[in-house]
Assembly symmetry: C3
Homo-oligomer: 109 residues x 3
Amino acid sequence: MRLVIAVVQDQDSQKLSDHLVERGFRATKLASTGGFLKAGNTTFLIGVDQTQVEDVMGVIRESCQAREQMLNPMNPLGNGVEPMVPYPVKVQVGGATVFVLDVETFAHF
Amino acid sequence: MRLVIAVVQDQDSQKLSDHLVERGFRATKLASTGGFLKAGNTTFLIGVDQTQVEDVMGVIRESCQAREQMLNPMNPLGNGVEPMVPYPVKVQVGGATVFVLDVETFAHF
Amino acid sequence: MRLVIAVVQDQDSQKLSDHLVERGFRATKLASTGGFLKAGNTTFLIGVDQTQVEDVMGVIRESCQAREQMLNPMNPLGNGVEPMVPYPVKVQVGGATVFVLDVETFAHF
Ligand code: NI
Ligand code: NI
Ligand code: NI
């Protein structure tokens, strides 16, 4: 048994949830923050058999691959104040940090 | 030293907290979601000596044992709309998923 | 690779975050509760190389060392009701509980 702990940007969290369910993996989700961008993220706890680690890693990789995206300037306050970034910029989104831990004992009651 | 990670339905969370305190175990609780029912749950982190793993597993089992319960139909919005389930149904509540991990180093400052 | 799980009083959480960033450690933070005082706390997940465990433990110790503090009585409701503790008392604040776990596999996508 292994415990997979995956920290995933909020942007990809729903996609990862859906893909895990599709593949029959059960996950527990915890709201978290941190990393360089201080953006919100989600920490997934996924208990899997040792033989499924590669599968679940594949699901995480395909759901959360880091990629570049154009960020359009917007003024979320709509108050006429100039946005801090007045032109579209390329930002990196997505990505996941994954720790796989050995589980000494597993139980379900 | 072992780290016990227990994911528990919110319904049993307070009972487990109380029983852990009664038995002298200290736990850290994190709000979490997930599992089949998407119901809210609580993730407990409990650091215990290797010799106490069986004890703490017993406390979790007795506090969170899965069981059946009659769910009465209710219309939570009180707006005259038919409830989705118009008759009492048996649902499974409770249950816990528990991972025991080996701790390489433990420290308290 | 090691996963350091540190449970830290909210009071010290920002200081620990800042010091970790200063030292180049990336952390994921989860809101948590529990321990004797039921006070809010923060659970940090910090992935580090085996050779950095001592360093990160030092950062946690210096940021979160338990210490005594005078707690002044205050009536937070401002409603004329007597505070429960009508004179300054010494309370222990700070402190951290830290678990270091071995990581079998680490990945970043
Ligand atoms: Ni898809
Ligand atoms: Ni009881
Ligand atoms: Ni400082």
